[in-house]
């Protein structure tokens, strides 16, 4: 009579768990700096329980069976949280593969007198747990992608600061590429800040923009036009020599926009528009 794998699993749950934990603890990839042993044990116990509950002799060959939904869910949660905690893919992979080893060890103990059955069951288990392994990787990568996506959003958020550098003068250093969504953020921030501070001059610095193609230029022109509608003047600074040549060859007309090579000269221009002058203090001259 064939051995019931589900029965076997249910009866030997604690042996399996102990074996598995033992394997994880002795493995050199154990990260006790990222996770305590207690946490590891709770996590592993949850997974073994779910597996024992859902595994039957029928569905062992049907890896996509909905019976395993609970196991899948626990696995996804584990690998997702591991991805965020900074586990490497190898460590996460070994976690699930060491369960496979523990399971096979258990089978070996129980079925040592029946090699054919042992082989058959091991193979079925192998297939099932490999599938779990693949799933773990998929969710692990998804977890990492989520991290990247969040960082991308954060970058576009923090990379468009509007700074008030003088009474009535705003500066906006643009770093990176100006695409449509970025322009939208830049424009919104700038226009809002103009209202908030009552500024009349805005300096857009494009030193950090690697290439100015016609789309970037179009976005710049739009931003300048919108600023003008708000009654403020706009100066574009940070135009490098090679950018200047490229813009001319492309045929982009920036002649009705005030442009300067450096932020310093843009600020100087802004001062003169406000009839301000920067003077060296008299008393300091005595030091010479």
């Amino acid at each position: 009579m064939a051995t019931s794998i589900s029965q076997l699993l249910k009866n030997n749950k604690s042996t399996l768990l102990d074996g598995w934990i033992q394997k994880q603890l002795t493995n050199e990839s154990l990260r006790d700096d990222l996770m305590t042993n207690d946490e590891l044990r709770t996590q592993s116990e949850e997974l073994v329980n779910a597996l024992a509950k859902s595994l039957t002799d029928e569905n062992i060959t049907q890896v996509d069976s909905s019976d395993f939904d609970e196991v899948f869910e626990i696995l996804s949660t584990i690998s997702m949280s591991r991805a965020r905690q900074g586990f490497s893919p190898r460590e996460t992979g070994l976690y699930i593969f060491s369960l496979k080893e523990a399971l096979i060890d258990l089978l070996q103990q129980k079925l040592s007198e029946n090699p054919t059955e042992l082989f058959e069951l091991s193979q079925k288990l192998n297939r099932l747990l490999d599938n779990f392994g693949v799933l773990t990787f998929e969710t692990f990568i998804k977890g990492r992608e989520d991290v990247i996506l969040r960082q991308t959003e954060e970058i576009s958020d923090i990379s468009t600061p509007v700074i008030q550098i003088w009474d009535g003068i705003l500066a906006l250093p643009i770093i990176g590429t100006l695409d449509s969504s970025r322009t939208q953020v830049v424009m919104e921030n700038l226009l809002q800040k103009i209202v908030d501070t009552g500024s009349s001059i805005a300096i857009l610095d494009i030193s950090g923009v690697p290439a100015v193609d016609s789309l970037v230029a179009q976005h710049l022109i739009k931003t300048v036009s919108a600023t003008r509608l708000m009654g403020a003047d706009c100066i574009i600074s940070g135009i490098r020599p090679e950018i200047a040549q490229t813009v001319v060859h492309l045929g982009i007309d920036l002649s009705n926009i005030i442009t300067k090579a450096t932020m310093a000269s843009a600020l100087k221009h802004a001062f003169s528009m406000h009839r301000l002058a920067v003077k060296r203090h008299e008393t300091e001259k005595k030091g010479f």
Binding site: V212, D213, L215, Q218, P241, E242, Q245, T246, L250, G251
Partner: protein, 137 residues
Amino acid sequence: MLMTLSKDSMSITREQDVVPCRNRVKEVAVKIGMGIVNQTKLVTAASELVRNILRYADSGEVLIEVVSKGRESGIRLTFSDKGPGIADINLAMQDGYSTGRSLGLGLPGTKRLVNEFDIKSTVGQGTVVTILKWKNG
């Protein structure tokens, strides 16, 4: 006699591909020792054409080749897509003409930025643009 020294291709499918493609072109340009002005011109031209692919054809492919002719070396870029094609190339090459509400400088501007420019397009089948920039051109 034009000789191809190295070949590299990448596919363009989304807006996030513009920057990696530009960086790839720039890398190659730096490798053959192209000056900063020509580098910027070539990278800007590439940027224009990649944006055209994304805007009009959704996806396409870029082929980056290092070529040499006698002592002169340069970079040849081929942008191919299976988009709607261009009905009137002469019109599309005019400054300020655009069917996509842009400045209309992409194609004519690109032509001015590079040494050799070739465009082939069949309506309904797609467009192939080939540009070449010499190292000291």
